[in-house]
């Protein structure tokens, strides 16, 4: 069962086999959690978003278009949830707190030294469209095409956004690289 393709597991899930869906969860939980954690910079929020992603995917499985990879489909659900969460945070965070803390402390889930923290801060300063491309590209399993599928943008747009983000990061991180 573990060696079955995503499409086969989806078909079995739709047939009522919840064990098949559990395998799908196990297959993609780390990647989805990592993507959520990179965007939200907080374990609890990432945990909530990851769980909700799989729950939503389960109930929306009939609408899944198998012409796309299951991973990009589920990643899109996750990104939408994260985006909603960020908007909610932006509304709820008072200005004073926002000035004091640029975001939740990522120390607990992100390894590295001060340089890594600085890099994350610079990434967080990027426009959201560029930031998402950079953070999705960290996951080397995603090709430009799949990033484009996930964000629903053409490959050329993926290339240009990634290039602009890298140029910006190159300038801002010149002194520490």
């Amino acid at each position: 069962l573990e060696q079955q393709t995503d499409q086969a597991l989806i078909a079995q899930t739709l047939a009522g086999d919840n064990l098949a869906f559990n395998l799908l969860v196990t297959r993609y939980q780390r990647a989805v959690y990592a993507a959520a954690a990179r965007i939200l910079r907080d374990h609890d929020l990432a945990d909530e978003a990851t769980q909700e992603t799989f729950v939503k995917a389960y109930f929306a499985l009939k609408q899944y278009d198998d012409s796309y990879k299951f991973y990009t489909w589920i990643l899109r659900i996750c990104l939408n949830l994260c985006y909603d969460q960020l908007k909610k945070q932006k509304r709820q965070t008072p200005l004073d707190e926002a000035l004091e803390h640029q975001g939740p402390d990522p120390a607990e889930i992100f390894a590295g030294n001060d340089a890594c923290q600085r890099i994350r801060k610079e990434i967080d300063k990027l426009p959201m469209d560029q930031r998402l491309v950079v953070q999705l590209r960290v996951d080397k399993d995603l090709s430009y095409s799949e990033i484009g599928q996930t964000l629903k943008i053409p490959i050329g747009t993926v290339m240009s956004r990634l290039s602009r983000a890298r140029q910006t990061l190159g300038k801002s991180l010149k002194e520490i690289l």
Binding site: Q51, M159, G170, L177
Partner: protein
């Protein structure tokens, strides 16, 4: 995509090359170029360095044991949500019921408000000048000047009764009885009733017969030995009964509303009569009789409304002045019958 200067390839292409996203031929081309171009070589070196740093900084490590229970947590959540839809549907259903009820209430309010507006605001014909509701003092000396004044205030009339001089004997035909013979309905609410409705009742047809040939008022029409003014309750009751017969029931206090709103309305009927028409045809008999009540027989034959002098010279206290505007065909013989556009009763009752 290729630059003509030193850099043969764009940063996008070099980045795609670094990410392994190019086709084989393009990849080979860049490989050859990078070997001979120090700037592109340095660009790729910086890109590699930065990408490694970003990858290291964005490396996520979930707490230990987190994924051991993740699958079961998701399964529990799914099981919970499978039970919740009933609750959600119920809430959703009540929400729609509430919204539908609110919408229905709003619709009723709007419709009733619109109907009320229609009732209270009857469109005035083009050029219509409202009947006088206030008696200017300067008109006392000008008997021949027309008393029609726009922007009149019905409240002033209601609270300021006009006392007629006592030197003239007070025997005036009651306006209510006059209306019976000359108008489709003496009820003041006629002003708010659409012309079509008035036509349906058949009362207008009767009025049309009367108004088609306006009666020539003479001194004989003015009976100075008839009843007293309509201030008596019995007379009012009689008026009301006549109004109910004509299906134009309105409360007494409705007069003011119609009076206040009618002149402000723009004409909506296609055959709205002009001022001349209104003056020459419609109000003539009514106003003439009103003037006759005020003992001004010469004016009885003219369409001009009663003047202040006429009212003051009336032998008795004027209780009611009824003004009815009836639209006659504007020279168009195809128009089958005249239409009552408005009727205003002004109560001038005094002591």
């Amino acid at each position: 995509m290729k630059n003509n200067d030193q850099h043969k390839f764009t940063p996008e292409q070099l980045g795609a090359y670094y990410d392994g996203q190019l086709g084989e031929s393009e990849r080979h081309e860049i490989e050859w170029h990078v070997k001979t171009c120090p700037r592109c070589h340095a660009f790729l070196a910086d890109l590699t360095l930065m990408d490694k740093a970003v990858e290291r900084a964005e490396n996520v490590s979930a707490p230990d044991g987190y994924f051991d229970t993740f699958g079961s947590a998701v399964a529990n959540r799914i099981a919970r949500q499978k039970l919740e839809p009933q609750k959600q549907d119920k809430r959703f259903g009540w929400g729609w019921v509430t919204a539908a009820a609110a919408l229905a209430s709003l619709t009723i309010i709007l419709i009733s408000g619109d109907l009320t507006k229609q009732r209270f605001q009857h469109p005035a014909p083009e050029g219509y000048v409202p009947a006088p509701t206030e008696i200017p003092a300067d008109l006392k000396a000008k008997d021949e000047a027309p008393s029609e004044k726009p922007g009149s205030d019905k409240g002033s009339l209601g609270s300021n009764p006009v006392d007629a001089p006592q030197k003239i004997k007070s025997n005036i035909t009651a306006p209510g009885e006059q209306a019976k013979s000359m108008q489709p309905s003496p009820e003041p609410g006629l002003a708010e009733v659409p012309a079509e409705k008035a036509t349906e009742t058949g009362a207008t047809a009767k009025a049309a017969e009367t108004m088609a040939a306006p009666p020539q008022m003479t001194m004989s029409d003015i009976s100075l030995d008839k009843e007293a003014p309509t201030a008596t309750p019995a007379k009012r009751a009689k008026d009301k009964a006549a109004a109910r017969e004509a299906k134009f029931e309105r409360p007494d206090d409705f007069i003011g509303a119609g009076l206040a709103s009618a002149p402000a309305q723009a004409p909506t009927q296609t055959q709205a009569p002009s001022v001349a028409q209104v003056q020459a045809s419609a109000p003539a008999p009514v106003l003439a009789r009103t003037q006759a009540s005020a003992s001004v027989p010469v004016r009885a034959k003219t369409p001009t409304p009663p003047t202040v002098t006429a009212l003051e010279q009336s032998p008795a206290k004027v209780d009611n002045v009824t003004v009815i505007v009836i639209c006659l065909p504007d020279g168009n013989m195809d128009c089958p019958e005249p239409k009552v556009t408005s009727a205003i009763r002004i109560r001038l009752s005094g002591d």
